[in-house]
Symmetry: C2
Subunit: 229 residues, 2 copies
DNA sequence: GAAAAAGGGGAGGGGCCCCTCATGTTTCCG
DNA sequence: CGGAAACATGAGGGGCCCCTCCCCTTTTTC
């Protein structure tokens, strides 16, 4: 039987399992944080998160000493989904389809989740345990772009860096429209991929915003400015 | 000589000219606010604005009782420029050029100015004196789109509401990149107009971000999350 | 140049939030 | 079952910000 050697240079210590109540509270906190980040972005109030979870603020800090710890715990799975999509995309026969699949999956993850949009547009600090995943996704993204260009399905003069435009812009459009037309970001993505130009018309995937929807989607002034009595 | 009639139902009261010191302070405050809004968006701290202007917070509130008052005073001119661009665009012979001119001017106004980006994506309350200008710009935008579609230079299946995508997305891209490559938003705008698709290649207007620039442009984690000691 | 009017100052109340820590409670394990 | 270890609690110090209000200073006006 293997004698557990007095951890010479082990990485994470054995990590004894959590107490039952602690595990339950941790899950509750994660659920509350997921909601809060989705609705308000990565800057959501941690005191509100704790309150929504029905727990004290000190409990939150015991489980997640820094905001980054909480962010990583909340988004580890979504980042994993994105990574798997990149792995699938990079081996697709149709490289254009792979390119679109990579981007569309990412945007689906972003849609309705300001937190993930923020994370996707945020360079994680090297110390973050999720930084590795982010880096690998980035590398796969480069390959996806290169393959599509080698096969001539993607403009030769775009670069992998241009992909960031998609992250930023769809994140913003989705943020603005999610409450009023949660799928309309696809229209934006499609326009970004196909272009506004007349001719060669592939029909757009979802209907446009109606004027009323647009009105609702524009940032409510009260959110940004003091009321005007 | 015209007898000033005891203002029967006049609109704004005669509005006596400001005292000299008051006018000077007002200008100083506007300059400080312009900087603060440009750098931090419409949510910039008013206490900081006053401090930057070297004036007391009470003075700021005397001149601009609400944040909206200050916002309108700061951005009235930019909104005017946008409006004039729309007027020019709507009568251009080449309707596609008009469409592009309208959007590009707007994006130039947005670039490097988070405040104006926010304002462009914000529905002003009816009471705001700038709301009329915003509405007229919106109407001109509709005409610009319709003309381009009648002339067959713009996809028939886009709507005036889709123009909001440009406002939101260029605003976000510009915000992310302004410190590192302040012109690269043009590349995004161009891609949005022309499309990522291979073939029919019009060269892109400015170079892509380098990987290093991209790294710098991604939101600094410290801005969003607590430090990780 | 003195009174009236306009403007400027800034302390302070209230709110929200971050994060810590001393104290009290639950779980686990022998 | 009993005690040690793990965990939960929430008041409280510190920070930033919004906005008000009363009193003092400057400008204008006659």
């Amino acid at each position: 039987m293997d004698i557990d050697p007095p951890s010479v240079t082990a990485g994470p210590p054995p990590a004894r399992p959590l107490r039952r109540d602690a595990q339950r509270n941790r899950d509750t906190l994660l659920a509350a944080a997921r909601r809060a980040f989705a609705e308000e972005g990565l800057g959501a109030s941690l005191e509100q998160v704790a309150k929504q979870a029905g727990l004290a603020i000190g409990t939150l800090y015991r489980h997640f000493p820094t905001r980054l710890d909480l962010v990583q715990a909340v988004f580890a799975d979504k980042l994993g989904v994105w990574y798997e999509a990149a792995e699938r995309a990079v081996v697709m026969d149709d490289t254009w389809e792979g390119f679109c699949f990579f981007l569309e999956t990412m945007c689906e993850l972003q849609s309705g989740d300001r937190g993930f949009s923020g994370l996707a547009g945020t360079r994680l600090p090297e110390v973050a345990c999720l930084a590795g995943t982010q880096t690998r996704i980035h590398e796969l993204g480069i390959r996806i772009v290169e393959r599509a260009q080698e096969q001539g399905t993607l403009r030769p003069d775009v670069t992998p860096e241009d992909v960031a435009f998609v992250i930023w812009s769809v994140g913003r459009v989705s943020e603005a429209t999610q409450d009023v037309a949660p799928e309309v970001w696809r229209r934006h993505l499609y326009l970004l991929l196909e272009g506004f130009r007349a001719g060669r018309v592939h029909p757009l995937p979802v209907p446009s915003l109606t004027p009323e929807q647009l009105y609702e989607a524009m940032a409510r002034p009260g959110d940004l400015m003091g009321r005007t009595p």
